[in-house]
Amino acid sequence: MKLNKFVILLGIVVLAGLAFIMSSQKAPEKAAGVADDKKVKVGFVYLTTPGDHGWTYAHEVGRQDVIARFGDKVETTYIENVPEGPDAARVIRDLAKQGNDIIFTTSFGYMDPTLKVAKEFPEIKFEHITGYKRAPNMATGNIRFYEGRYVQGVVAGLMTKSNKIGYIASFPIPEVIQGINAFGLGLRSVNKDAEVSVIWVNSWYDPVKEADAAKVHIAEGADILAQHTDSPAMLQTAEKAGVYGFGQSSDMKAFAPKAQLFSSVNNWGIYYINKIQALIDGSWTTGEGPDHWAGNTWAGMADNFLVLSAFENMPDDVAKAAQKAADDIKSGANKIFTGPIRDNTGAEKVPAGKTLNDGELFTTLDYYVEGIVGKIPG
C-alpha cells in the first residue's frame, strides 16, 4: 500500500513537471503577430446555416470578404447550426484545438462559452459578436442595427395608409428593444398618428411562426411589416398579401421583389478584415470600447458596418426622405435617441437636449416609446 501511494505521488509530480515544461516551451511562440510565411487560421461559429438568408448569411458574406481580401494568406473554417448555450463551448474549444489563431463567435448566446474557452486558450484571440463580456484575449464587436430601423420607421410612417404597422420581434433583449424604439422614433418623426404593434415569436428563426405572425398583423390591418427575426418568411407573406415590408440582416429582395422597401444589411466583412489585419500586424487589441455594454467596437452606417439596400417600391419623395434620414444619421446630425423622448404612457423619459449614451441604450430602455402599442414582455 505504501509503495502504491508513493508511485501515484511520483506519477503526479512527473506529470506536473512535464506539463510545466511543455507549457513554458509553448508560451513564447506567439508573442506578437503572425509570421509572414504562416497562414492565419480563422474560425467562425454560426448560429444557423448561411442558407437562412438573414443573420448567418450576412456573416458568411463577411467570411467571403475575408477570403477575397487575404486570399491564401488565411485559412477559414466555419461550423454551422451551433446551439447557443453550454454546448457551444465544446465547438469553440474544438476550433481552438485545431490551431485557429482567431475565432469569431457570431451570436449573443455564445458569450459565456466564448469567455470560458478564451480563458483556457490565452494565446488565441476571440471575437464575440453582440456581447458585453470581455477578457484580455476576447474582444466584442457589434453593429448599430437601430440606425437602419430609424430609417425604416421614417419610410413606414410615410408609406402607411392604415396607420398600422406590424412588427415581428424575437426576444426582448437590449438590441431588439433599441430597434423597436428607434423604429418608433423614426415613425413618429414623420407621422403622429401611426402605431406599431409588436408580436414576439420567441425565436430567431422559425419561418412558420414568422409567417403566422405576419398573417395576423395583416389581418389586423397592418399595411407595413418590419421584423427582427431572421427568415424571409415575413416578406414572402407580405408579397402574397400585397403589403410592404423591410428585410433583415441581408438584402431579401429576391424573396419579395414587389414588397421589399429596403433591407438593413449587416456588413461584417469590414470588421473581420480589420481585426484579422491587426492580428497579422501584431497590433491586435481588444480595443477600448465606447462603453462596457456597447462593446469594444460598435459602429453603424457612418462606418459602413450597416448598409441600406436600394430604396424600392416607394414614391420618389419617400425615397428622398429616407435618404435624408440616413444621411443625417451618418453625419451625426441625428443621434436618434435624443430627448424629448416619451414612453407610450406619455411619461417623459429623456428630457429635451439630452442624448442617451451608449451604455444607457443598453441599461435604460425598459419601455416602449410613443407610437408602440403594449408593454415589453418579461
Binding site: G51, I199, D206, V208, D212, K215, A219, K375
Partner: protein, 303 residues
C-alpha cells in the same frame, strides 16, 4: 376577422391530417410516437421535389411516399421484429429529424411556389362561408375528406371492424384467422402517408421554406389530439381547430397589446392540450372504453 379565421383553418390542416393517420394506426393497436419524424420527412421531401420539379403536386406525392417509407421502417422494427413500440417510435422521431436535416441542408434558404387555391364553383360565392371553406388548397380539402372517409371506414365497413378487432384483442383476431401483422402494417403505413402529407403542408402552403425541425412539435400535438378526441374522428376536427385557434389567438393578443407575457401566450396551446387531456381522463371508464384495448402491446404470431 375572416382572414383570422382562415389562418386558424390553415394552421389546423396539418394537425387534422397527421391525427387522422395516427388514429388509424392506434385503432389497429399500434402506438407510433414517430409522427414528428414522419412529418419532417414529408416536409423535406415535399420541398426538395417541388424545388427540383417546380410542381407542388409532385412534392405532395413525394411527401406521401416519404412518410409511408419512414413508417415502413417503423413497421419492420415494431411489427416484424416486435421491438418496443414506444422506444421505436421515439427513435423514429429522432431519426426523422436528423435525416430530414441532412437531406434538406442544400435547400435551406431556397423558396418554392406552393399549392395554389382551388376555388369551388358556386359554393365559393356563399357569403362568409364561401371565402373560408371553399377557397382552399387541395391538401386542406383532402384533410376533411380523409377524416370523413376514416370515420365511415371505422364504423360502417367490414374492414374497419377487422381493424378495430385487431386493435382491441389481437389474440382473438388472430384466432379468427385475421392476419394481425398485415392489418397493422397497412394501418401504420397509412399513418405514415398522412403524416407525410401533414408535413408537406408546412412548406407547400404555410411558408414556402425548408428549415430544420420546422414542424416544431406539431407531430406531438397530433398525437395528443388522438387521445384528446378519444379516438373519434369528429372530435379530431374540433380539437385541431381549437388548437389552431389558440395558436393564432396568442399572436392576435400580442398584436392588440393584451398585457400578458408573450412567453405565457406561446405556452397556451400546450397548456390547453394538457387541460383537456386531464378533463377527458377524469372519466376513466369512458376513456378506457374508447381506447383500443391492445394499444402498444406487442404481438408475436404463431405459425
Amino acid at each position: 376577422m375572416d382572414a383570422l379565421v382562415l389562418t386558424v383553418i390553415l394552421t389546423s390542416v396539418p394537425l387534422i391530417l397527421a391525427a387522422t393517420g395516427e388514429l388509424i394506426a392506434e385503432k389497429s393497436g399500434v402506438l407510433n410516437l414517430g409522427v414528428e419524424g414522419m412529418m419532417l420527412m414529408g416536409a423535406v421531401a415535399a420541398f426538395a421535389v417541388t424545388s427540383l420539379s417546380g410542381n407542388p403536386y409532385f412534392g405532395m406525392i413525394a411527401a406521401a411516399c416519404a412518410g409511408g417509407i419512414t413508417a415502413g421502417v417503423f413497421a419492420i422494427f415494431a411489427l416484424g421484429l416486435a421491438t418496443n413500440q414506444v422506444a421505436t417510435g421515439l427513435a423514429l422521431t429522432i431519426f426523422g429529424a436528423g435525416l430530414s436535416g441532412l437531406i434538406g441542408a442544400p435547400y435551406v434558404g431556397g423558396t418554392i411556389d406552393g399549392l395554389t387555391v382551388i376555388v369551388v364553383p358556386f359554393l365559393s360565392d356563399l357569403p362568409v362561408l364561401g371565402g373560408l371553406f371553399f377557397k382552399l388548397d387541395l391538401l386542406a380539402y383532402l384533410s376533411i375528406l380523409m377524416l370523413g372517409l376514416v370515420g365511415f371506414f371505422l364504423n360502417n365497413t367490414r374492414a374497419g371492424l377487422i381493424l378495430r378487432a385487431v386493435g382491441n384483442n389481437h389474440d382473438s383476431a388472430h384466432a379468427l384467422g385475421y392476419s394481425v401483422l398485415r392489418v397493422r402494417c397497412v394501418a401504420v403505413i397509412f399513418g405514415g402517408v398522412m403524416a407525410g402529407l401533414a408535413g408537406a403542408y408546412l412548406p407547400l402552403v404555410l411558408t414556402p421554406h425548408w428549415s430544420e425541425g420546422m414542424t416544431a412539435g406539431r407531430g406531438w400535438i397530433a398525437l395528443a389530439l388522438v387521445v384528446f378526441a378519444s379516438w373519434m374522428p369528429s372530435r379530431i376536427l374540433i380539437g385541431a381547430l381549437l388548437f389552431g385557434g389558440i395558436t393564432i389567438m396568442q399572436l392576435v393578443g400580442q398584436a392588440r397589446g393584451w398585457e400578458m407575457p408573450s412567453q405565457f401566450l406561446s405556452m397556451l396551446p400546450y397548456l390547453a392540450t394538457i387541460a383537456v387531456l386531464v378533463l377527458i381522463s377524469r372519466n376513466r371508464n369512458f376513456a378506457l372504453m374508447r381506447a383500443p384495448a391492445h394499444l402498444g402491446r406487442i404481438f408475436i404470431g404463431t405459425k
